[in-house]
Amino acid sequence: MQLSGSKPPLKNGKRTAADRSRGYYDRSMPKCRITCTPLIALLLIASSFTLPVSAFAGARRFTYVYEATTAAPGPVESENWITWKTSPRENRRFNSVDFRNELEFGATEHLQIGIYLADWGYLEDPDAHEHGFSYQSSALELIYNLSNPTTDLLGSALYAEIRGGPDEFELESKVILQKNIGRFVVAYNGTLEAEWEEDHLEERAGEVSQSLGVSYEISPTWLVGIELLHEIDLPDWSEAEDSVVYGGPNVSYRRGNWWATVTPLVQLTNIAAEVDLQTRVIFGFSF
């Protein structure tokens, strides 16, 4: 792992979005972003605890893989993500924790809308003298369900996301396939991302990725499964970089109006510039 030993060079004195996605952050984030955003996010999380709740949430079986089913119109759900990335093999003291606070609801019986109120993160990289909170972006997500994974031969949905932050703009699209067979749910995502970054968005980059998840429902409250994630960066949309593959188990629990799912992923390839271990927890409430 080369997170501190051979960090990518700064471009115009700043980290690119591709660098940040790998755990390299810009030390010169404005202090307001560092101090205010976590406070706002904590208030949002706290508010989701205090709002009246009575419905069973549209629980997720996976954390890295999206499902083809969409929420029914009506209840609004708060989803809160925490993703911890670390690289114990090469840089034991490196830790990156990303947070996402999302509200999602069904607009129609086939269209689900998600609003990422804030993506923000904490970085601790003593070797590089980088640490602290930073606001990264906010986003709008749309998922349109095309077919039913239970009654049709194959469930499917289309996903679109538009994301903006202080130094980045991103468009993301996915094809989501899913099949429910008895207690098993199998889901596949094919993803294409286009990123523009830096002050005048002159830097362009892309990423192609795919993910596969299998989940088994042990009981109505406990589910277990596995997730695989495969990513290929396309800097400047030119030659593809080495592809990186992660894999790991997942566990999901749901009760009453809330649910939580956790997935630790280990890098199955040997790409030094990527983190070795990432763990994502998503917990949701409906109100």
């Binding site: 419905a55 899913q178 429910n180 008895g182």
Partner: protein, 111 residues
């Protein structure tokens, strides 16, 4: 793009398509409204209500858990289950009634 990456993409697609192709027959696990009506199990409930009930049963209910096969529970057990689950899923009264009409009629069909 490296051959290994292409292979990985292909393998994943094969897995998901394979699961879809080899999946259980949804018509037998969750009979359509037309099938239910064809054997007279609808007992006067119209096709639109049965279709609505099947749609809600296989979409809203599966947001949180897999759909239980119709044959797994008796008519009385289905009625109790719908009464318990409908408030949790925040079903409207018309959707609750449609789901109950569908599962009870479908259960009579898959005896």
């Amino acid at each position: 793009m490296k051959l290994r990456s292409v292979g990985w993409f292909g393998l994943s697609l094969l897995v998901i398509v394979g699961f879809g192709a080899c999946g259980t027959n949804p018509g037998s696990s969750f009979p359509t409204a037309e099938t239910v009506a064809a054997v007279g199990a609808n007992r006067g409930v119209d096709l639109a209500t049965l279709n609505r009930g099947r749609k809600v049963f296989t979409t809203t209910c599966t947001e949180c858990h897999v759909a239980q096969p119709i044959a797994k529970l008796s008519v009385a057990q289905w009625q109790r289950t719908v009464a318990i689950m409908a408030p949790r899923a925040r079903l409207t009264e018309s959707d609750r009634a449609a789901v109950e009409a569908y599962v009870t009629a479908a259960r009579r069909t898959v005896l």
